[in-house]
Structures are given as structure tokens and as C-alpha cells.
């Protein structure tokens, strides 16, 4: 099983083709094949993670050893992302069996996205990362467009154009780094960049382009414009899947680029680089929250909430110490589970009662106790009420900012909890303390899989919060190595 890292990327892509082939034989065989693929992926990711937490697993692709060939590197952080991708993919697939778009083409693209995200998580080569970034992007554009009507196609086109600009800036950044050093392997790059010198304009330009390119993909504030349309225009299961994973893995890539390729010494040598990250973080947290408050549509509000939450992660990258990075990783995992869960719950509520706006949620607890309960629990987790995982992530990031004595950032990070409360409190108040609205358009059947997934997500938000401290200890060696 020494080929496991390569298999982890190959499995979903293989099953993606299998789904299409099986669809030729029997029209309705797409979902079972895709489910088997996602289950295999979970097992493979878990086995690999088990090894990666003991020591870093490296794999040479095609026998061309690094720094010339492509290398796959799996450490604790990559393994976390690979497992997260696999688990969320399986869960959303369970939800989408009845709810989601139900064509074989959809399942094929879905698995392609899983492959792209896994590839981004475990690659050790910066150009390879660009290719997986684009595979992820292409699959995500297609999935967003899988909704009915023109709205999802428009949202997907906007996402495609903005996403392509982001990825192209990333490619230009790779070009600058390559011109400066002549290498593309991440580990080799970090050594070569030190030799070229951190003051070299080529190196600085490369950093700026790579980071801004990824800012587009993470949806940091002024570059977030694609995101609310894409999340709101996509079918419910797709917005859950994309909101949980695409920006999360892009944020992981940001951590990789900043700490593995450019290293913390680069940040210390260039205060402007740190300012760029800190500015993105502060603006995202504040404006994401402000825009979220002014939304009437639930899915748009959740999308702006993501802008604000990823500001927190970028803030942790700017702080750049062990505690903050630990917090960022926990928050990435926690956000994926909670935000994915919230979109699924919103989809469940919309299917059962037709409620899609904040006002429609009035008195929801009397009409749909299960949906309202899960939504409420996930919202509280997102705000950061202990023992939910949202609390642990924010706590570590804030603690890291205090340790680093970057006070303005610390204040914004602490305030972000209140800002989160600002846009979620009005939903809680409507759901639990208002008389039911009369717009009861309860039509479609809610499947067992949909209910189960939403409940599992709500439970996972709490359970992960309790496990987070032990996970933090597991991850500590990896984070220490990142900052070395």
C-alpha cells in the first residue's frame, strides 16, 4: 500500500469515469457507484492520515525524484484536509440522494471535485497545485451551474471569470518564483528563495501574486464578489459541498504557500507581506459581517458569513505563531462542518416548508422542530458558544494574536464573535420566539438521508469541539515544523 498517496487522488477520478460508464449500462446506477467511491475515499484517507500523523509521508510520482519530478507530501495538516474532504463528500452525497441534482453527469463532476481538492491538499509541487486548483475550479463552476434556470448559470459564469483571474494571478506568481529560483518543488523553493534573498523584488512580487490569487479563491473581502452569487445560485447540496470545502482547501493552500514555500523568515524580513495578510483579515471580518446583517435571503447571508469567518483564518496566518495556526486549522475543520451543515439545514427547511428568507423563518420551531433545532445548534456553534468546535478555533486564534501582541488584530478577532452574533441572533430570535408566518408552502418530501445528515452535522459540531484539544496535540509537531 505504499502507493496510497497517489491512489488518494486517483480513486475519485477513477470512480468519476466509472459513474459515467455505469450510467451507460443502467441509468440509475450513478448514485450507488459514487457512494462506493466516496466511501473508499474515506477509508483510504483515514489509513493515510493514520500514517501521516506519525511521520511525514512523501511519494515520488512516476519515478522522477524531487526537485525535478512531482512529489506528494502528506503531513498532519494535509492529512487533516484529505480526511475532511472525504468525509464531507460522503455526507453531502448521502444528503443529495433524494434532494440534489440527480444525474450521472452530476455525480461524475462531484467526484472530480473531490479528486481536485484532495490533490491540492497533498501535492508538494507548486505547479501541480495550480493544476489541481484549476481542476477544483472547473468542477466547482460546473456544479454551481447544475441548478435549474438561468440564475445558477449566471452565477457560475461570474464565478468562472473571477476564479480564472485568481488562478491566473497564482500562475503568474509561480512564474516569478520560477524565474527567480528555477525550481517548482515547494521544499526546494523555500531553500532557493532564501538564497536569492527575501528583499529581491521578484520574490516579493511572487509572494504578492500568489497570495492575492489565493485571496480570490478564499473569498477575502474585496475579492469575494463571486461567492454570494455562487452559493445562493447553486442547488442546496452543491452550496453545502462548495462552501464546506472549496474555500477551506484554498485557505489550506495559503497556509502552505506562506509557511512551507516562503517561510516565517520571509514574513519577518518583509513587514509589508504581513500587513497584506492582516489587512485582508480585518477587512473581511468586518465587512463580511456587516454585509451578512443586511441580507434577507438565508443562503446569501450564510455566504457573507463565510467571508467573515475566513477573515479569521487569514488573520491567524498573519499572526503566524503556533497557537494561532493551530486555531486556524481547527477553525477550518470546524467551519467546514458547521457551514456545510447550515447550508444542508437551510436546504432541508426550504424543502419542507418553502422558507428561504429571514422573515420566513419566523416560528419555525413549531413547524419543523428538527430543522430549527439543528439550524439553531449549528448557529450557536458558529457564534462560538462552548463546547462547540467554533469556540475552540476562535479561542486559539485569539490567544495566538494576544501572544504575538498584535493588538489591533486581537481586538478584531475577539469582536468577530460579537459580529457573528449580530447576524445570527436575528434568525435565532425569529425561529424560536416569534409566531409562525402564514406562508406554509410545505410540499416536497424530506428524506431520511437529509434529516440524518443535518443531525449528524449538528452533533459533529459539538463532538469535534470536545475532541479538538486532543487533535491539537496530534497536530502540534506539524505546526512546529511549519514554523521552523
Amino acid at each position: 500500500m505504499s502507493d496510497l498517496p497517489a491512489m488518494l487522488v486517483a480513486f475519485p477520478m477513477l470512480f468519476s469515469v466509472l459513474v459515467l460508464l455505469a450510467g451507460l449500462v443502467r441509468q440509475d446506477s450513478g448514485w450507488p457507484v459514487a457512494a462506493v467511491g466516496a466511501a473508499v475515499q474515506v477509508v483510504a484517507a483515514a489509513v493515510l492520515a493514520n500514517r501521516a500523523f506519525e511521520e511525514t509521508v512523501t511519494y515520488v510520482v512516476g519515478g522522477f525524484s524531487a526537485p525535478f519530478g512531482i512529489e506528494l507530501v502528506v503531513d498532519g495538516l494535509s492529512a487533516t484536509m484529505a480526511v475532511l474532504v472525504a468525509v464531507v463528500a460522503l455526507a453531502v452525497l448521502a444528503y443529495s440522494r433524494v434532494a440534489g441534482p440527480r444525474s450521472n453527469a452530476f455525480y461524475a463532476v462531484y467526484l472530480l471535485l473531490v479528486g481536485g481538492l484532495t490533490g491540492m491538499s497533498i501535492t508538494g509541487d507548486i505547479f501541480n497545485m495550480y493544476v489541481f486548483l484549476e481542476i477544483t475550479g472547473l468542477a466547482a463552476y460546473a456544479l454551481v451551474a447544475s441548478g435549474e434556470g438561468g440564475r445558477s448559470a449566471l452565477a457560475a459564469l461570474k464565478y468562472l471569470i473571477v476564479g480564472t483571474i485568481g488562478a491566473s494571478l497564482f500562475l503568474l506568481g509561480i512564474g516569478y518564483a520560477y524565474v527567480a529560483t528555477g525550481t517548482l518543488n515547494m521544499a526546494d523553493l523555500s531553500a532557493q528563495l532564501l538564497e536569492v534573498g527575501y528583499g529581491d523584488p521578484l520574490v516579493q512580487a511572487s509572494f504578492a501574486l500568489l497570495v492575492i490569487g489565493l485571496f480570490v479563491k478564499v473569498a477575502v473581502f474585496p475579492l469575494h464578489a463571486w461567492q454570494p452569487d455562487a452559493y445562493a445560485g447553486a442547488p442546496d447540496s452543491v452550496s453545502a459541498f462548495i462552501s464546506a470545502l472549496v474555500s477551506t482547501v484554498a485557505a489550506y493552500a495559503l497556509i502552505r504557500i506562506v509557511f512551507t514555500v516562503f517561510t516565517i523568515d520571509f514574513l519577518q524580513a518583509n513587514p509589508e507581506a504581513r500587513s497584506l495578510l492582516a489587512a485582508g483579515a480585518v477587512v473581511s471580518i468586518v465587512f463580511g459581517s456587516v454585509l451578512a446583517v443586511s441580507q434577507t435571503e438565508i443562503k446569501r447571508m450564510l455566504a457573507y458569513s463565510s467571508v467573515s469567518q475566513f477573515g479569521l483564518v487569514v488573520g491567524a496566518v498573519a499572526v503566524a505563531n503556533e497557537t494561532a495556526l493551530l486555531g486556524a486549522t481547527i477553525h477550518l475543520v470546524g467551519h467546514a462542518v458547521m457551514k456545510g451543515g447550515l447550508f444542508l439545514a437551510a436546504g432541508l427547511i426550504a424543502t419542507a416548508t418553502g422558507a428561504r428568507t429571514v422573515d420566513d423563518y419566523a416560528g419555525l420551531v413549531q413547524r419543523l422542530p428538527l430543522g430549527a433545532g439543528a439550524f439553531g445548534a449549528l448557529v450557536l456553534g458558529m457564534v462560538g458558544v462552548p463546547p462547540a468546535v467554533g469556540f475552540v478555533g476562535k479561542w486559539y486564534v485569539a490567544l495566538g494574536a494576544v501572544e504575538a501582541e498584535s493588538w489591533p488584530l486581537a481586538v478584531v478577532i475577539l469582536a468577530s464573535t460579537l459580529l457573528t452574533l449580530a447576524y445570527f441572533a436575528r434568525i435565532l430570535e425569529r425561529m424560536f420566539f416569534r409566531e409562525p408566518a402564514s406562508t406554509d408552502a410545505g410540499s416536497a418530501q424530506v428524506s431520511l438521508g437529509m434529516k440524518a445528515t443535518v443531525v449528524v452535522a449538528a452533533l459533529a459540531a459539538v463532538v469535534l469541539g470536545m475532541l479538538a484539544f486532543e487533535y491539537g496535540q496530534l497536530l502540534e509537531p506539524t505546526v512546529a515544523e511549519l514554523l521552523a
Binding site: 493544476v131 451551474a145 438561468g150 480564472t164 500562475l171 520560477y178 517548482l184
Partner: protein, 117 residues
């Protein structure tokens, strides 16, 4: 900084081309022209990569190792990036066909008016 740009003037050309592409992307209302702008923008970056591999008097290391030799790696990378670019264009055009079917227009401003109703 000036020295760097003087010795590597292709940086400026790549930026200029990408800038023109970006302007087309933003300035044009027509969706198809937006996609063309996106392609021009990408091409600027591709050409930057390829130009970076240029060595005066160099030749590719095919059977022998000439001195000086040209690194073939940027060309290979850009081949991959071009494939990605073609796929992106295909998806974009596919989406535009869908949009045209629904709204009956290719003009971004017109579509926005119809979509908001």
C-alpha cells in the same frame, strides 16, 4: 527595480497584454467578448512564462547537451496551462449558451435587468 525591468522587458509586455485582457473583461458588456478578454489575459501570462525560458544563442537539449541550453520546463508547464485554458473557455461558452437560452440576450446589463425581475 528599473534595472530589473530593463533587462527583462518581457515583464512589461506580459503585464500590458494581461492589462488589455482585463480591460476587455471589465469594459465589455458582451459575454462572448468577456471570454475573449479572459483568454487574452491568460495568454499574456503564458507568453511571460515562455519568454522567461529564452536564452540568447541557446538551443534545446535534445540529443546532446548544448551550451548554453534552453530549459524546456516552462514550455511543458504552459502546455498544461493551455489545456486548462481551453477547458475553461469551453465551460464558459457552455454556460453562455445556457444563459442565452434562458434570457435571450448576450448583453450583461440587459440580462441583469431580466434576471432581477
Amino acid at each position: 527595480m528599473i534595472d530589473l525591468l530593463a533587462s527583462r522587458s518581457y515583464f512589461l509586455v506580459a503585464f500590458l497584454l494581461s492589462g488589455i485582457g482585463t480591460y476587455m473583461l471589465i469594459g465589455n458588456g458582451n459575454l462572448i467578448k468577456k471570454v475573449i478578454g479572459m483568454n487574452v489575459f491568460q495568454t499574456g501570462i503564458f507568453l511571460f512564462f515562455i519568454a522567461s525560458a529564452f536564452v540568447k544563442g541557446g538551443s534545446p537539449p535534445l540529443l546532446t547537451a548544448p551550451e548554453p541550453y534552453v530549459s524546456p520546463l516552462p514550455h511543458v508547464l504552459i502546455l498544461t496551462a493551455i489545456v486548462v485554458g481551453v477547458s475553461l473557455t469551453a465551460v464558459a461558452l457552455g454556460l453562455i449558451v445556457r444563459i442565452y437560452d434562458v434570457y435571450g440576450s448576450l448583453d450583461a446589463a440587459e440580462i441583469e435587468v431580466v434576471a432581477d425581475e
